[in-house]
Symmetry: D2
Subunit: 189 residues, 4 copies
Amino acid sequence: MSETTSLRVLGISGSLRAASWNTKALRTARELAPAGMEIEVFEGLRDIPHYDDDLRTGSGYPAAAERLRQALKAADAVLIYTPEYNYSIPGVLKNAIDWASRPPEQPFDNKPVAIAGAATGLLGTARAQYQLRQMFVFLNGLVLNKPEVMISQAPTRFDAAGNLTDQATRDLVTAQLAALRDWTIRVRR
Amino acid sequence: MSETTSLRVLGISGSLRAASWNTKALRTARELAPAGMEIEVFEGLRDIPHYDDDLRTGSGYPAAAERLRQALKAADAVLIYTPEYNYSIPGVLKNAIDWASRPPEQPFDNKPVAIAGAATGLLGTARAQYQLRQMFVFLNGLVLNKPEVMISQAPTRFDAAGNLTDQATRDLVTAQLAALRDWTIRVRR
Amino acid sequence: MSETTSLRVLGISGSLRAASWNTKALRTARELAPAGMEIEVFEGLRDIPHYDDDLRTGSGYPAAAERLRQALKAADAVLIYTPEYNYSIPGVLKNAIDWASRPPEQPFDNKPVAIAGAATGLLGTARAQYQLRQMFVFLNGLVLNKPEVMISQAPTRFDAAGNLTDQATRDLVTAQLAALRDWTIRVRR
Amino acid sequence: MSETTSLRVLGISGSLRAASWNTKALRTARELAPAGMEIEVFEGLRDIPHYDDDLRTGSGYPAAAERLRQALKAADAVLIYTPEYNYSIPGVLKNAIDWASRPPEQPFDNKPVAIAGAATGLLGTARAQYQLRQMFVFLNGLVLNKPEVMISQAPTRFDAAGNLTDQATRDLVTAQLAALRDWTIRVRR
């Protein structure tokens, strides 16, 4: 990879609500992407129906699921911002992963992945993130270990317009993106 | 609770496909329910839209989600048969839990829960079950420890008509139901 | 159990160092125990040798391990304060559990358990606690769900003499003890 | 790394008992190591005292702990065979990790790691392995995703002399070693 090559990162927010902290944080990550990295934010988790293997083997991949699969396939790396619902990732995010993981191609295989999350509480999505990490063992995603981005007390770190203004958090988001870039280059075959 | 009182157990299968091993196993559990226990199988996970907090706070609970919430509220205990997708529970099952868990009433609170699962492989949904157990810490579900029901190599244990015919597995399913009954009575306040 | 009966709770700190936040917090818990509950702090994890099944089947339980087993057997409930080492519980605590769990009697079986922990960081032993909870599924310990006691930023919550002075934390510790008392009575057979 | 350079892998068995399936499996792995890989089996977990930070900051690393630290530091990769005790790794193995993880150098940092395990039951150490994987997130160990080596029903796979004779299992062990070799080369900086 030459120095001018741009890494394409697919960003996914696990929340559907309009004012989601995770969606806001992901947008900030897109702005903070280092030189040589472009983050595309995937829109459309909402449009992916509940996974049903009869549907897949019957009429094939629904359009929104296929769009996710193609976007993952085209990406050099994946960046997931997940909220924590009931000590795990949201069902809607898991459902997207369930569709993405099926044959013939499994787009997470050997793909560098960074996991992050924002929450109003102190634990900042930690529990959801460790469950998500376990899923990527099966998927053979190459999950970045560090830095872990767990944005706690989110309402204190964003301004009224939804911008992530807390500088320490911005620095952490930036550091993770740099680490993801380095990791992606490092594991490239 | 008098000896003639029947425990009402709400059974949930985490799979949507018609020939699901988990749905079949849950039906078998319903047949094997001990005296004094009735298992109602909840149908309708498919109809619950993706969780979106804007939807809930805007137009309220969708009909299918409200139906699940009421069924959980009315139940004395819950029995979940979950497949394992990507080393966790299916998105569609998690989505149902996400809707069920929201205010004003959280129907899993203090509710006895038994977890089971069937899979074609050797590990038999173990990874999904431990993730699900962690969710119930948040939800304050009272999850039965033992016996754990992890039906491995499912295709060898059912007949062509979808009946769970393996006697050892039938005995295990029966033992878990008896343990759930005892546990439900034990923790009743 | 009559109202004057005292619940005997065995308290275990997972840290060996003299100035351990967890040992200090456990001592505070002992002082805050509600009427009808007495907390005995187990000393001696250090004296239990590394688990070796050859040792157990050869010369039997080492004295310190046997002492722990008897203390657990005599207790109505168990309270564990664990630090977090490498995102899990300390080896020395796990080793004690490994000895306690062996035949002929498994003293955690059906025993009410409360889990707590203190740490200097923000996550306050959360990761260690969820791993410990999984161990108690095997052991059939009846682990209290709530309140979870994760004392973060411990150095700000204790005075120079090692007393837990932060009132909100004291209240949380007290609330967990009350919940453990109620839970112990509730699951008593 | 030239083609003739040998990868030095440090092998660790988490069990102390003489007839341990994991120690036997690790010895077999040593024999099956591919060209260009040498597996040294670390002996001495038994001699590492319980972790106590006062001991470390007082008299420094105990000799056995320092020996483990140096062996890890000198290794290009680590191979851990762990039994499952109480749904997690043995205390003695966790204790070794606790000592290894402390300053000034943390020898697991950026180190390729493969995890395997043998058990008499069907689940074959799965639960212990996922807990161990979580520890390596903190330690920034680069844990190989696949193939996972979970040797179930161990007594049926070894002969009376303790040799791993089951060919499918031998092939799996071999495949993991090859994957560890490729992974080690891939992530080398």
